[in-house]
Subunit: 369 residues, 2 copies
């Protein structure tokens, strides 16, 4: 006989996933439906409406990709980029770097606009790089999970004063917790994940495409290599035609729907405010412990809170003790920030006063503060 798998009940305060609300867990126990069942098709319409509300968009083409957040990144790049075209990519963290790498894989000549990790991209440098390039796509990360930095995206639309452009934004660590304002900010394509700020398990990637983005996709000389992530084929299943593409991961979509329902019942503004307050309380607590946040308050994410590891403190030992003695997961730093920061996620159902207090108390105990 195979031993049953009984994972411990972790308090997930890392870069994701975040803990699931009991309602979301319960939604996964609803009866499974086939992907062409009339009840499932109606369910899809409702799911799309809720995704539009959370993305703050009227975009018709808004749905969940059947893969994790990285699948959303690949979907956007694979469909938007044609071989050899220039793409301006902002790079100031691990996920900006990944965006640039994937754009190259998908055939782009990438113009990197860099900033120090933890600092936002400079809008003037971005404008200048865009002006000098022939790029018709500008891509960047809204909420950089590797550093805890929030990139202002409100002024991106002004790039179109220079030349028309499809603006693509990674909202993996912002959607559902920090305003993204897809329509208000005139973002043309965005992807996110089902976990983190949304609060469903990892496994799906919400995406949205504006008419400008779809026009670029429709005018491709050849379809993208990828069939699984082909937006035009996926749209034929998600829209009235209902042309079979792949067997829907229905249970994951049930969980996503319940998480979205909880977001809309809480109210977007209230939810953002909850994330802001808990992040600020956490930062105040960190400073009271004599520690320092990695990103200044102006560009600090409310979801992913990066803390500088004090000199002389053993990164790995602290994280291991948090896990073993408190069942608390926090994240390590990536790349150049390895050993330099801890990444604390306060996201979705995990963004609570109690989690803030518990983590501060546990950190204080372990650091002997």
């Amino acid at each position: 006989m195979i031993k049953p798998f009984n994972p411990p009940q972790r308090i997930l305060l890392g870069p994701g996933p975040s803990n699931l609300d009991a309602r979301v867990v319960s939604a996964m126990t609803a009866p499974l439906l086939g992907h062409l069942d009339p009840v499932y098709l109606e369910f899809m319409d409702g799911l799309q409406e809720m995704l539009r509300a959370v993305f703050e968009t009227g975009n018709r083409v808004t749905f969940s990709i059947s893969g994790t957040g990285g699948a959303g990144m690949e979907t956007c790049l694979a469909n938007l980029i044609e071989d050899g075209e220039e793409v301006v990519v902002g790079v100031n963290g691990f996920f900006g770097q990944r965006l640039a790498d994937l754009a190259e894989r998908w055939g782009a000549r990438v113009v990197r606009v860099e900033a120090e990790w933890g600092r936002p991209l400079d809008m003037d440098r971005l404008r200048e790089a865009f002006r000098k390039s022939k790029a018709r796509i500008v891509a960047m990360v809204h909420a950089e999970t590797s550093t805890g930095m929030r990139q202002p995206i409100e002024q991106l639309k002004s790039l179109r004063d220079i030349r028309d452009a499809v603006i693509l934004v990674d909202t993996v660590t912002s959607l559902g917790a920090i305003p993204v304002g897809i329509d208000r900010n005139e973002i043309d394509a965005a992807y996110s994940c089902s976990q983190k700020g949304i609060g469903a398990p990892p496994g799906l990637s919400p995406v949205t495409f504006s008419e400008r983005a779809l026009e670029k996709i429709r005018s491709r000389k050849s379809p993208p290599r990828t069939w699984y992530f082909d937006v035009q084929l996926l749209d034929k299943y998600w829209s009235a035609e209902r042309v079979y593409h792949h067997t829907a991961p229905a249970i994951m979509n049930y969980a996503l729907r319940e998480a979205l329902a909880m977001i809309l019942e809480e109210g977007l503004e209230k939810r953002w405010e909850r994330h802001r307050q808990n992040s600020e309380a956490f930062a105040a607590g960190i400073e009271a412990l004599g520690l320092e946040m990695f990103v200044g308050p102006e560009h600090r994410l409310w979801t992913l809170n990066a803390v500088r590891i004090p000199p002389g403190v053993d990164d790995t030992a602290v994280r291991r003790r948090l896990l073993e003695e408190h069942n608390i997961e926090i994240g390590a730093g990536f790349g150049a920030l390895k050993g330099k920061i801890w990444r604390i996620g306060l996201m979705g159902a995990g963004s609570t006063r109690n989690n803030v207090m518990l983590l501060l108390a546990a950190l204080g105990r372990i650091l002997g503060k």
Copy 2:
């Protein structure tokens, strides 16, 4: 307030998904773990071992792709095919057709070996096509979901008498229900899905690669465009290096593990036998009703049972009445078989004597037999 979603309890006897056992549903309520949690990493090792047992392989590179069965197809083709190379593809149904189409998307010059839908590929024609080509990859569908036909795969290894070849087989509708014998049959690459014969919800795709397949992948001139499905990167996360790639869909993998545990507890041979017996009982019942199976007994799938729709019977009306009056889902025909066949899935937890009896009774009632 958003209305709660309460889907009806369907009896899923279509081409997939199949119904979930309560143990699999329950597995999804276990506490979520992060993708780098030591408990999750150990869980992954166990999952891989169980996947190897069900694939009947010792292949080290055996894991679940974070997408549905179609994602598995794309993973195999995207990694194995290099631009412009010839690939021999067997086409005798919708999914063989898809395999050929996707191979072309991924840069192959496809040599199609065709057979009538519902009939297996002719081994002599396959040998001849392979001999005449320069192909180093031969791909086909083991269990053609669109027709209910089982392709013999035992002799494929003899193709290597002609020239070395990577043999790729689609086991989406066979794995866990019909022997695949990856090692015994010297298959180099195979993909499947988490649902159907496996019995977990749709959302994951088990894959396996032999050393011969990996050698071809490692010798690529450039990495595949796809990052999400890059087997060498995925392997670095699934093997000892544990290099972060994407956030694991942990809950789906819990469900997959529980479904695999149930397969191994039942025993592969017993499980195959259960599927065989229920399929044969169903076929006997269909013939007793005066109807006819689409595929002869020799090449008939035990999982997907195609029934010819009798002349004068309204395909859509019968399926609608089964759904509305009995909560039973069955599948329609695809393409040229639309209106010509029904596709009855008896798979995983759905392959039971009671389901066979109930469906025959309901069909008899609706058809007035």
